[in-house]
Structures are given as structure tokens and as C-alpha cells.
């Protein structure tokens, strides 16, 4: 349907349309060319005039002229327009004055998320296909060397923390650096390919990272064998931490730990995978569920409901077989986890990934400047981007406000100033510095799911920004409430605070905030008795 083969021919035809299409001028005023090219990369690649393309072909292919008008929704809502075979955007613009037709029904972004839900079975099948394509290697025992003489730390997580970017990966890098400084060898195990949940009967190979170096992909049994082969007569101190069981099998984890002579260790609550296969506790990817009873009506309608039992029973088996101390990066995380399920634990701890250290007052901003609301990071629905986007669109012409997006890639077609920020292992403070330089008054940190620990919230406060968040944001809401770092509002109150101007109280000029440095923790390395180099 969206073939680009006749693009050159279309281009010639389109130049003719430019002269003769009387509706073009009507549409031109509302057409968003930059957004169109960003939304439809094939059009950008074909180098055709986006407006001419929309007028001649785009609307017939279900492409939208701007982010506010949905061709498909309009035709669904007004079937007589579909039957007439006319351009729905032209129809809307010409009849819009009547006021009875909406450009698209106001269904909210959650409608779109629900409409795009992919069944968990399909995700699992896709993960299995990707995993089947991986062939495990041989010769791991030789690669590990004689670890028996040394102290050893084993970690499990959902991916290779040295190769992927993210909050947990950065935290694991600090743990790796910490245990290295303590003189421990570090064996990190992760599924070779991503999985949406923990495995039971599904076979898969494990990626092995040895002291920060990826050694390759091996069968779990080969890992256990290598550990057994390296077993010394007199082992050094050994420890382990489970950061995530996504993509792991409990049987494999138990076998590997047994081979390493380990049974007491740490279990981190970076997410809620121990409570549900929907590890964000985001029912149908749209609303925090708070892990209600598995036989509840809410779990009954949830995409993840049928898979919850797998995660509960497998984690229960893990907790029964091992002596696990549960570590949460925030108190609300631990509280919810304890209230939701009764796992047998050896102990519990709260150990934040970062703490604020004051470095004096922020400079006062110039008087009379609009209130700057920033969004930091990936523009994803589960991080609350649509809430920010809708606010920016609604208040685009309000001189009291200015909207900023700090991140890797801009989203064109919005009344939002983009600031490129590339945070990574080499510059972990990039976001904090960018927020400070931009003198954002507040950052909208609006995760749909409860965060176990939000680096963005800490970075925002360290940069002198207030944090505005929703009631379901877990650690963010607790951090904001406990520290007086901003406001916790529901979506209706958020809109009202901006309409009324109540939110202006959070401006830098009124708050006169402090600036902070962030002292990052080293996770499990902070919890181990300090090792001695071999």
C-alpha cells in the first residue's frame, strides 16, 4: 500500500497537483510538514513535497496531516465522509466552523496504547524465535581461568550492562566497578537475547560477562560446569546478586549458584517482576495497578494477568531455595512489595542509588521570564510524554509558559524547544547539567508506572528544578513529598494548576532552590564486607 516504487512518477504528478488543487490552500494552513516527514520516514526518503503527497495519496493511505487530526478516526466517526470518498481533512476544515465535528474523538493517549497492545503470547513467541537463532559456544571453563583462588561475585540481570544504556545498566556498572575495587572477580549472566518474562520451559543460552568483558554465549549447564571445574579446595569469599530474572530460568539460576557454592545473596527490586510478568505493574500498559490479588477483576482484564502466576510461583520457588536479602532502592518500593506477596526472605533493606549533597543556592533567574517546564529523556508513553505533549499543545499560546524537551531526539511539530542531551556512562551528569544550564523551573516526571528509583527526579532536583509528578509514580512521588521538591498532582489537578497559574509558585524566582551533587551508590558492592585482593 505504501510502495515507494512509483515515487519519481508521483513526484512529477504532484507538481501538477500543486497548481490545480483548490483544496491545497485550505489544508496548507493547518498541515504540519515537519511532523509529516518525521512521522512517515518513507515520504522523507522519497523526497516528495509532503503537502502534495498528503493531498494526493497520504489521506487515502490513512496518513495524518498533523498530530491533532486522525484520518482513520475521522472516517470511522463519520462514515458518510468515507462513503463520499473525499479528503477527510478538507472536509473537517471546511465544515469545522459548524463546531459539531471533532478532528478526532478525544479518547486520550491511553486509547492508542490499548489499541496497539501486542498479546504476551506473541511477544514470547518472538523472543523464542530470536533466542533459537543463537548458538551457544564452547570452552567457557578455560576462559574463566582459575577463579577458585579469588573472591567471586555473581550477578544476574536481563541484559549485558556493558552493552546497553539505562538506569539499571549504569547502576550495575557502578556495582561492577565497586566489586572490582574490592578485588573480586565478577561473573555477570544475562539472557543472550531479550525476553519479556522469566523462562520456565523455554530453552535459551546465556550471555557471559567476565570482569566487564563479554566472553560470548553459553548454555546454562556450561556455566555451571565451568564454575564446578574452577571450584577450589579453599574458596575465597563469594557473593551474588539477582538484579532481574527476566529471560532467566529459576532452575538454571539455582544450578549455577549451587555450582558456585552459593545460597545466600541479594535480590534487588529494580522493578516488580517478582510480583507479575507485567513488571512495571502497569495494567494493560496504561495504569498503575498496585499489584492487586491475582484473582482480582483487574488482573482478569489485564494482558499480563494470565502470566502473573508464572512469575509469582517461580519467584516463590527461588525465595524458598535461597536465603535472599531483598534490597529496594526506595522505601515505597519495599512497602508495596511486602504488602503484595509473602515471599520468605532472609531480610530487607532500602539502599538508594543516589543521594543529594548540597552545593549552595541556585542563581536567581532574570525577572519576567516565562515558567519553563521541561521533559527529560525518551518521549515514551509510559514515561508520561503524552501528558507533557498535551500540556504543551494546550498552552502553546500562553505567554506564561515555555516548554522544553531535553533528550536524544526531537519530536517535531510541537511548540516545544528541543535541547540535545546525550547522557551515558562517560557523562552520567549530562542531564543534570543540561537542566541546570536551561534553568528549567520544573521538570514533569510523570511515569505511568511506579518507579522504584527515578534518576531523572534526582537529576532535576540537583539542577535546581522542581519536580511535578503524578500520584502513581512510586519513588518519585515519595521523593517529592518527603523532600518538598515540587508537587504531586493528578492529571486533572495538573491541567488546573497550569490554567490557573498556581504552578508558577514552583518557579525558581519564588522557590530560590539549592543546587546539589549526586552521590551515586554502588549497589551490592556497598553491602558486601570489603574484600581483600587476592
Amino acid at each position: 500500500m505504501r510502495s515507494l516504487v512509483p515515487a519519481a512518477l508521483k513526484l512529477r504528478l504532484l507538481s501538477g497537483f500543486k497548481r490545480f488543487d483548490p483544496d491545497r490552500a485550505v489544508v496548507a494552513a493547518e498541515f504540519d510538514a515537519a511532523w509529516y516527514l518525521q512521522a512517515y520516514p518513507d515520504i522523507a526518503k522519497a523526497r516528495v513535497d509532503p503537502l502534495a503527497h498528503f493531498m494526493a495519496f497520504g489521506w487515502k493511505e490513512g496518513r495524518d496531516p498533523n498530530p491533532r487530526f486522525s484520518v482513520r478516526e475521522y472516517l470511522n466517526e463519520y462514515p458518510e465522509v468515507a462513503r463520499a470518498g473525499v479528503n477527510p481533512f478538507v472536509h473537517f476544515l471546511k465544515s469545522g466552523g459548524e463546531g459539531s465535528r471533532a478532528p478526532r474523538p478525544d479518547l486520550g493517549f491511553r486509547y492508542d496504547v490499548i489499541a496497539r497492545l501486542v498479546p504476551v503470547e506473541d511477544r514470547l513467541a518472538q523472543a523464542a524465535r530470536a533466542s533459537d537463532a543463537v548458538r551457544p559456544g564452547a570452552g567457557l571453563a578455560g576462559a574463566l581461568g582459575p577463579i577458585g583462588r579469588r573472591q567471586l561475585h555473581v550477578t544476574f540481570s536481563h541484559d549485558d550492562y556493558t552493552a546497553n544504556v539505562g538506569g539499571v545498566q549504569l547502576a550495575l556498572q557502578r556495582e561492577a566497578a565497586g566489586v572490582a575495587a574490592q578485588g573480586r572477580d565478577h561473573l555477570h549472566l544475562h539472557p543472550a537475547t531479550p525476553w519479556p518474562m522469566l523462562r520456565t520451559d523455554e530453552p535459551a543460552a546465556l550471555g557471559v560477562v567476565w570482569n566487564g568483558q563479554a566472553l560470548g554465549v553459553f548454555a546454562a549447564e556450561a556455566v555451571a560446569e565451568a564454575l564446578r571445574a574452577a571450584a577450589p579446595a579453599r574458596p575465597g569469599e563469594r557473593s551474588f546478586a539477582i538484579h532481574s530474572l527476566l529471560g532467566h530460568s529459576v532452575d538454571e539460576v539455582l544450578a549455577i549458584l549451587a555450582a558456585a557454592g552459593l545460597s545466600e545473596g541479594f535480590f534487588w527490586l529494580h522493578d516488580f517482576a517478582s510480583l507479575c510478568a507485567g513488571y512495571h505493574l502497569l495494567r494493560n500498559d496504561v495504569e498503575d495497578c498496585a499489584a492487586p490479588p491475582p484473582d482480582s477483576a483487574a488482573c482478569g482484564i489485564c494482558l499480563y494477568g494470565p502470566w502473573r502466576g508464572r512469575h509469582l510461583s517461580e519467584h516463590e520457588r527461588l525465595f524458598r531455595r535461597l536465603k535472599l536479602t531483598v534490597v529496594a532502592p526506595s522505601q515505597p518500593t519495599l512497602d508495596l512489595w511486602r504488602a503484595s506477596w509473602d515471599f520468605p526472605v532472609a531480610g530487607t533493606l532500602v539502599h538508594p542509588h543516589a543521594r543529594l549533597r548540597s552545593r549552595g543556592a541556585a542563581p536567581a533567574p532574570p525577572a519576567g521570564r516565562p515558567f519553563r517546564l521541561a521533559y527529560a529523556g525518551l518521549p515514551a508513553a509510559h514515561k508520561g510524554w503524552p501528558v507533557f505533549r498535551d500540556l504543551a499543545l494546550r498552552l502553546a499560546d500562553d505567554p506564561r509558559y515555555e516548554f522544553l524537551h531535553l533528550g536524544l531526539r526531537s519530536t517535531p511539530g510541537l511548540p516545544v524547544r528541543f535541547v540535545e542531551v546525550a547522557a551515558g556512562p562517560e557523562n552520567p551528569r549530562a542531564m543534570q547539567q543540561a537542566l541546570e544550564a536551561a534553568e528549567a523551573d520544573a521538570v514533569l516526571v510523570w511515569p505511568l508506572c511506579r518507579e522504584t528509583f527515578s534518576f531523572v527526579a534526582y537529576e532535576a532536583v540537583a539542577a535546581g528544578c522542581a519536580v511535578i509528578t503524578g500520584p502513581d509514580s512510586g519513588n518519585v512521588a515519595a521523593f517529592v513529598r518527603d523532600g518538598g521538591h515540587g508537587a504531586v498532582l493528578d492529571e486533572a489537578a495538573l491541567a488546573e494548576a497550569f490554567e490557573s497559574g498556581e504552578v508558577l509558585k514552583l518557579g525558581r524566582a519564588t522557590r530560590r532552590p539549592a543546587l546539589y551533587d549526586l552521590d551515586f551508590g554502588a549497589l551490592t558492592a556497598d553491602l558486601l564486607p570489603e574484600g581483600t585482593p587476592a
Partner: protein, 341 residues
């Protein structure tokens, strides 16, 4: 209380009915679940009632309806699947059950129906109105209030009765009316079984009109009902526990009406997405879409609605052609092609 639940459908609705019975079994494993089918399985589909989520099947042709083939021919698929509800509920009153509940095949339970049993201690007939709150918005009045005025105050996707007293009297009356007057003929005051039940509060005692928003939630009443999913896992409608949903018109039309009235009330879309997943899982590719064994003459030619109406209106044709499905010499079909044309 011994409770019997039945639904009435053809094989093209087996997928939806399976979902209904699965949800009934989940919440009420002790209730007897009966499938009332006015159809025959399509070739290539191996129908195994023992593997289905209901306890037994009753075929419409076994209900003892006089001149069954001629009677059936007078109805289209919706009319006849509705009409057989009457004879079944009447006969079920002497089956040993204390209460009988009818649910449309496109309904599904999202909560327990135990309160029905409580209400049936004091009432003999339970009905759910299309609307329990009036609309103020013009579009909603046109779509919903006036629609209910035309098609019936109560939605007969649900009815529950005691099998004695006024319940049994209702069942006999409904049986009698539906055997003779279960047509989609709004100009004459008929919309299958529904307009009849406008009379129920006048004709019978011990009737309860269920004004609880958790029952029979559907696109036609979403304009006045808000669905919420609570942190403790309950699903509520205007604060009351959600009991059952009526997923009427699975497809673009149902989607449009649902979106028009649900707006940003996103749990509604979660519930629809859940239902569509279950229906997809329960769908057997061996059943052709829109399959109905009684939709064609014996030679395979489709039966037009006008032909059914003609047959319905002409006593002489009914007498001359007691099996109007037949094809070939001396058949109603032949008469249509020659004299009826």
C-alpha cells in the same frame, strides 16, 4: 437455589458464547449452563459438546415447536434465536431449576452474579433497562434514549426468573408471544422480544427493575456510566462493582459507539481489548463467518428476508409448503421462481 443459565445462538456466535460460558464457569461453577442452538454445525467443524464450556446443548428443533420448519422459515437469524428463548424458558420452569437466567451470547461476566440470587428471594422477574439515568446531551438522547423508546425499555440480553409463581406465569406468556410475534417490525410495535417486555411491569407482580449500573453495561448506557479500576483490583461502574458487560456489535460500529460515549474513560477500552482477545482465542477457523445452516434453501441458494416475510404473511403458502427450505419441483422455492417472481 438451583440456577440454570442459558444463551441462544448459532455457530457463528459460538466464539462469543464460549467466552460467556467461560466467565460464567469462573464465577458460578455450580450453575447449570445450557447452550440453546438454532443451527447445525458446518461441514469441517467437529462439534464436541463435551469439550465446550457448557454442560449441555438443546437444539431448537427439539423444543417441540409445532411445524418447526415452517415456523423457523418465517424468521431471520436474529428473530429466531430470540424467539426460541420463550419456549426454552417456559420448559425450563419444569426442569427442576429454581431460577433461570438468560444471557445474550455477546455478554460476559466480569464479576459475580450472586446478588441476582438474593433478589430472586423476594422477586420473581428481574429485568435490566437500557438506561437507568436520563441523558441531557442531544446526540446521546438521539442515540440512546430514543433508540430505547423504539426498541424497548428493557434490554433482553438479560432476564432472570424464578421458575414458580409470577416467574412461571411470565415464562408461559413470553413463550406464547414469541412463538407468534417475534419479528423485527418496528412500524407494528415489534422489536423481536424486547417491546413485549415493556408490558412486564404492568402485567406481572414481583418484578424488579435492576437499577444497579454494574449490570448490562453497554455502548447505549456508557454516556451515563464511568468505569474505574481500583488499586485493590475491583472494577466499578459509577462506584458499584462491575457484574456483566454487553459487548454488542463486535466490530467497527460497536467501536464507534463505544468511543463516542466512553471518551477518555480508558478502562472501557481495556475491557473491550480483553473481550476481543478472548473471542479471538475462542474462534474456530473451521466455522465460516456468518455461518447459519438455515440461511439457505436445500440447494444452497440464500434465503432473502423478503421471502421469509412473504411466507410469514401468507397462510396459504404455509399450508402448501410445510417445508419451505426444500428445493426442486413442487417447492416453495420453485413457486417463488415462477409465480412469486
Amino acid at each position: 437455589m438451583k440456577v440454570l443459565v442459558y444463551s441462544s445462538f448459532t455457530f457463528s456466535y459460538l466464539n462469543r458464547a464460549r467466552v460467556l460460558y467461560q466467565t460464567l464457569r469462573r464465577f458460578h461453577p455450580d450453575w447449570e449452563l445450557v447452550a440453546l442452538i438454532t443451527d447445525r454445525p458446518p461441514e469441517g467443524f467437529a462439534f464436541d459438546p463435551a469439550a465446550e464450556p457448557f454442560d449441555r446443548v438443546v437444539w431448537a428443533e427439539d423444543l417441540g415447536i409445532p411445524d418447526f420448519q415452517g415456523w423457523l422459515f418465517k424468521h431471520d437469524v436474529v428473530e429466531v434465536c430470540t424467539a426460541v428463548k420463550g419456549p426454552f424458558i417456559h420448559q425450563a420452569c419444569s426442569s427442576g431449576a429454581d431460577a433461570v437466567i438468560y444471557l445474550d451470547p455477546d455478554t460476559a461476566l466480569l464479576g459475580s452474579l450472586d446478588p441476582l440470587v438474593e433478589w430472586l428471594q423476594d422477586h420473581d422477574i428481574l429485568l435490566t433497562p437500557h438506561l437507568i439515568d436520563p441523558n441531557d446531551d442531544l446526540t446521546a438522547i438521539l442515540d440512546n434514549d430514543l433508540s430505547a423508546s423504539r426498541t424497548g425499555i428493557f434490554n433482553l440480553g438479560f432476564v432472570a426468573i424464578r421458575t414458580t409463581g409470577e416467574g412461571a406465569r411470565f415464562a408461559k406468556w413470553w413463550n406464547d408471544r414469541l412463538l407468534s410475534f417475534c419479528y423485527d417490525d418496528m412500524p407494528n410495535g415489534l422489536f423481536v422480544d424486547q417491546r413485549w417486555c415493556d408490558h412486564v411491569p404492568a402485567l406481572f407482580d414481583k418484578v424488579k427493575v435492576i437499577r444497579d449500573p454494574g449490570y448490562n453495561v453497554a455502548s447505549w448506557n456508557l454516556s451515563t456510566r464511568t468505569v474505574a479500576v481500583e488499586k485493590d483490583g475491583r472494577i466499578t461502574v459509577n462506584g458499584a462493582p462491575l457484574r456483566f458487560w454487553h459487548f454488542t456489535k463486535l466490530g467497527p460500529l460497536g467501536d464507534t459507539m463505544t468511543k463516542r460515549y466512553a471518551g477518555r474513560n480508558f478502562p472501557v477500552y481495556e475491557i473491550w481489548a480483553w473481550y476481543k482477545r478472548l473471542v479471538a482465542e475462542a474462534t474456530d477457523a473451521a466455522i465460516p463467518e456468518r455461518w447459519w445452516a438455515y440461511g439457505a434453501y436445500d440447494d444452497g441458494a440464500p434465503i432473502e428476508k423478503a421471502e421469509r416475510v412473504l411466507y410469514r404473511q401468507r397462510g396459504d403458502l404455509q399450508a402448501a409448503y410445510p417445508n419451505p427450505f426444500a428445493a426442486g419441483p413442487g417447492s416453495f422455492r420453485e413457486w417463488l421462481q415462477t409465480e412469486g417472481a
